[in-house]
Symmetry: C2
Subunit: 325 residues, 2 copies
């Protein structure tokens, strides 16, 4: 492999100074079309690719954006969500000379790196509880957007699915089916996504019996335990709104083991549209890829200092009717 060409070689070949090459590369104005073309040709001919480290150093920009996924989240929250968001985030970045740096944070350790000027902004995905990372970053002036409403509130803009409305729709569907004893397997109480879906269920259930609530941790295992507990408390229940498909899988196993047929004996609605199941799940779909694109779009706008941006964005969900309810 031959040494890679530097900007000087390009300049020489194009017969201009390296300043001009730099201008062309960065799309600066005030460059004649002739020179621009000459430089472009030279770049191609030499297969020149600028050195990012040098660019960052000289340009005071990192040309990198961090995607922070809390370590627990990586394990707990349905992986399809994170994977889909990543795809969207990436798609939105396409064409830019910006790297996506992935970080899995144990609480506390990534803060100094991020505020240390190594990235131009950060996307922080679905934090638990009152993680101080968001405010830390924000207070240090780093552009940040949260994926999922931060429980603690605060000034950080966020993108989220409309979990509340999705849950309302799901529950109303159960009601419209004529179900009388509708339970819910909710998510953890330290995540907004868990609380919002529970609130939606409560809203739709107003005027009805709302004590049939069990919490799971967004794992199949958790869904199974919750279902068992629900069945013990109310053997006659005839419907369950499960706040995540992955938990619904566990619930389905338990219902099956207890001889309940789905949907004949118990109707089940999930959330996420992330897993195939037997029977196929009626569920609330969220477009995770779009979620990711929106997230990145919002962050780029933030970084570029656009004015009048909405503090947050709520993405619509839709009910997908299948067999389970």
């Amino acid at each position: 492999m031959t040494r890679r060409p530097g900007i000087d070689e390009v300049a020489a070949l194009a017969g201009v100074s390296k300043s001009t090459v730099s201008r062309v590369l960065n799309g600066a104005p005030h460059v004649s079309t002739r020179t621009r073309e000459a430089v472009r040709r030279a770049v191609i001919q030499l297969g020149y690719a600028p050195n990012q480290a040098a660019r960052s150093l000289a340009g005071h920009r990192a040309n990198a954006i961090a995607l922070v996924v809390s370590e627990t989240t990586g394990r707990v929250l349905a992986d399809p969500f994170v994977a889909g968001v990543m795809r969207g985030v990436h798609a939105e970045l396409a064409g830019r000379r910006t790297q996506l740096v992935l970080m899995m944070s144990r609480p506390g350790d990534v803060g100094s790196y991020l505020t240390g000027g190594h990235v131009d902004g950060a996307l922080v995905i679905s934090m638990h509880g009152h993680d101080p990372l968001l405010s830390l970053l924000h207070d240090n002036g780093l552009p940040v957007v949260a994926g999922g409403r931060p429980l603690a509130g605060g000034p950080v803009p966020y993108v989220d699915s409309d979990n509340f409305t999705g849950a309302v729709d799901a529950t109303r569907h159960l009601i419209s089916l004529g179900c009388g004893r509708i339970a819910t397997i909710a998510g953890p109480t330290d995540m907004a996504v868990g609380l919002d879906r529970l609130s939606g269920w409560r809203r739709a259930m107003s005027g009805r019996r709302t004590d049939l609530v069990a919490h799971g941790d967004f794992t199949a295992q958790g869904g199974a335990s919750a279902m068992t507990s629900l069945l013990t408390r109310e053997p006659e229940l005839d419907a369950v709104f499960v706040a995540a498909d992955i938990m619904a899988l566990g619930a389905l196993q338990v219902l099956n083991a207890h001889g309940r047929r789905v949907p004949e004996d118990v109707a089940v609605v999930g959330f996420d549209d992330s897993v195939p199941a037997v029977p196929p799940l009626t569920t609330v779909r969220q477009d995770v890829e779009r979620f990711g694109r929106m997230l990145m779009w919002r962050l780029l706008a933030e970084i570029e200092g656009e004015e009048g941006l909405p503090p947050s964005v709520l993405l619509p969900t839709s009910l997908v009717l299948r067999t389970s309810a």
Copy 2:
């Protein structure tokens, strides 16, 4: 936010030159304990964090490693695999000042970036077919390790699960159960993981009927189609080895729809241990996190120029007995 301190400030505070600070930071030898301590204190007091761009530029090291996931793979291959591998990769990197840069490659576009000196090495996950990326990187002298055996062969070291043996074990289990008509839903023929699991099935089936093969694309949908085709060709089949749990989910749906009970009428064994199902799947487990750690370990060894490294590593799998077979 106040301007972040540079190495000069640290040097001044510690009463030494910046070279010495650099030495301490990089763990170079020939530094007295006294100075080392003084520098450490100064670093902490100032909250100093070195500028990566400058380090890379001066040190001719990128301090970054790329994790390349082909775009199709991101969508098609069971996400739990990629997510788990990422966790492992990350865990192995913990403590190093090295960033993980995530890239989703459309065939062809990441090559120049990677060979352009922006990363010190690359991990390339589960390529389809004869993707030229691996050899491109390798030929350019970039340390590379493949996650999953590259179909095309070649000199690039790789880490993989022992898919062949896993499939043999799974199939032998089916045979030991007394099943007589054992089919398989294999993976795509353009991925080693698909071929290896199929070979394992064939090996275990030697002397038996081996025409009951249908291919799926590692999606539930694909598994469902394959199962349908199998059932049409041989309504009497009494066992299926499915080369991926996610496809098994689809197969289960179809078996269910056709009135076949699992495991009473048809025994099913999956691969990956990645999804909860009804009934719970007997499956071949691979430790994906370990896979990721091994991958990164191997790449770091490669980068550091260690001698006598094995060209490839095969990680063991284990059969997990549950209800489906």
